[in-house]
Symmetry: C2
Amino acid sequence: MPTSSEGTIFPYTCRMELQHDLFLRAAKGEEVPRPPVWLMRQAGRILPQYRAIRERLRDFKELVETPALAAEVTIQPVDELGVDAAIIFSDILVIPEAMGLPYEMEEKRGPVFPNTIKTMADVLRLRAPEDAAGQLHYVYDALEITRRDLAGRVPLIGFAGAPWTILAYMVEGKGSKTFSLAKKMLYTQPELAHQLLDSITETTLLYLRQKAAHGADLIQIFDSWAGILSPQQYQEFAIPYLRRLCEGLQPIPVTVFAKGAWFAMPEIAQLPCAVIGTDWHMDPQQVRQWVGPEKVLQGNMDPCQLYASPDVVFAQTQQMLTQFGRKHIANLGHGVYPDTPLASVKAFVEAVKSYTYPISR
Amino acid sequence: MPTSSEGTIFPYTCRMELQHDLFLRAAKGEEVPRPPVWLMRQAGRILPQYRAIRERLRDFKELVETPALAAEVTIQPVDELGVDAAIIFSDILVIPEAMGLPYEMEEKRGPVFPNTIKTMADVLRLRAPEDAAGQLHYVYDALEITRRDLAGRVPLIGFAGAPWTILAYMVEGKGSKTFSLAKKMLYTQPELAHQLLDSITETTLLYLRQKAAHGADLIQIFDSWAGILSPQQYQEFAIPYLRRLCEGLQPIPVTVFAKGAWFAMPEIAQLPCAVIGTDWHMDPQQVRQWVGPEKVLQGNMDPCQLYASPDVVFAQTQQMLTQFGRKHIANLGHGVYPDTPLASVKAFVEAVKSYTYPISR
């Protein structure tokens, strides 16, 4: 297995040539014959192959932390669904854990942090960014194995949570409808929040550079809880840190997916990212107006639409492609839900792969 | 206690003259010297008086179902905070329960329905709208008592959940981040969904007319889960039923608060409602553009902003008032959170009450 020098910001240079680079070319805004397609959470419970592996294991974290298995489930959707990109199987919460706040993944309840951040002393007690990013060799190893086993079939996406979303978990300690504890910190202890966001950003940047060095071709940043901030808060506590990540990762292409942050689309459009993710609330033409002609858009079918029959899914997917037009990567507007029928997921992928853009420009 | 004839759609005629009708005049679009103010969930845990009553009781439902106590907590914020309107203490889930699906309110977990709607047979088994609305005398009694004890001090708001939000609970059976079961019904069994929405709408309309007949001056419709639908789904499964409610309630003024439904604002603006609620994501000037000059807007401070100190809250509240300008009812963009400091809630109310619109138009 080839290894790369630690700390370089350039993607993994000693690797097999990509045989199928449609996804990367589209992400960079190049002209392509059809949009590429992948699904958020494609490596997961929708696949019987995934469920078979998961059943043998103690818990979700064992899968995240075992590189050979993480690599195996990363590649499953490439084999089974024929998607145009793989995304490394992992979790956004490996970052707070590496920083010194371990999490547990409780069945049905989701992630829970026994310790949370309340004071500046708590922030100062966290691991320094380099030490924290150095905890995550199991992720880097999973990327290397995936890269080797993909053998250039499709590009590999690496990812991390956006700093605000990671702060939300570190302060709240668990999922929440309102994240009122985390938002309270932004309103009442803004310096503390900025200090924590700074640490998270620095750690995430080192981590993502390592991910790229170990084989990720593109980085997607998930701002899963973007949608609960006010526009002013998003401006102050999210955008500057997203900017630091995008700038610090250059020239690696970055996708920013800020779920629910319709109100910040014009600001997100100003980030030096290649691709902007869109959720299912956003009308493709409206979001194109908001962000201008340059950025590639990714999304955005409602994951619940895949509960419909395969022929309905096929037709609605091609309708979505027509609405987006060029500079588009086909995906859902959220992760695919675990109980989605596989036949409909396949219809979604096939609808994109059998589509061609009209010739006229 | 005066009684009104059942079934009339006109508000309670035999009642004390309102001494303070600022809220109603503003809701009707009349020119007023300052915006009126109230808070969603003002009758609740923020008040020590409420917590004292709640501690004596078995559970939340006992309070909802005991008219004298519901009336007492309805009036508490008028006494303690000096708000310009009272809102009857109740729950949107009394409607599904009256239709034949009882709910339990579990501490921390929220509402849970032991039985849910899955098939047309389940829908046909529900109580007919008139029978269902007839189950809710405890609400009508609470309104009468509140009306008597308010003695014309401020107007009284009645409310219900929007049909889509009620369907979401009846199908999902509990709160959910995705409401994917309920949305699945919309995509895979649209006729069943429409049949259920029709029953809910008819029941809700009869219920709200009774609420008005028993003392509610204005009706607010909470579409709490509006924000998880796609624009197309909102158009098909929400707007037509909201329209039936608004039309069926005329001439009673109606407020429609569709949380998270920024994408449907232009359609909501076309409803025959008096007031449109806005959540904290919406920029006052932008939403005014979306809905045009006619409608009164209600909202929209982020409830987390009230965690700040009273002087900060005071300043930020007045800033919000300036942004909204006229045709505005001051409120939060969501229900006030239970752990909000009372001093900051009071600062919010005082900031509105000490504000006057600039004289120039």
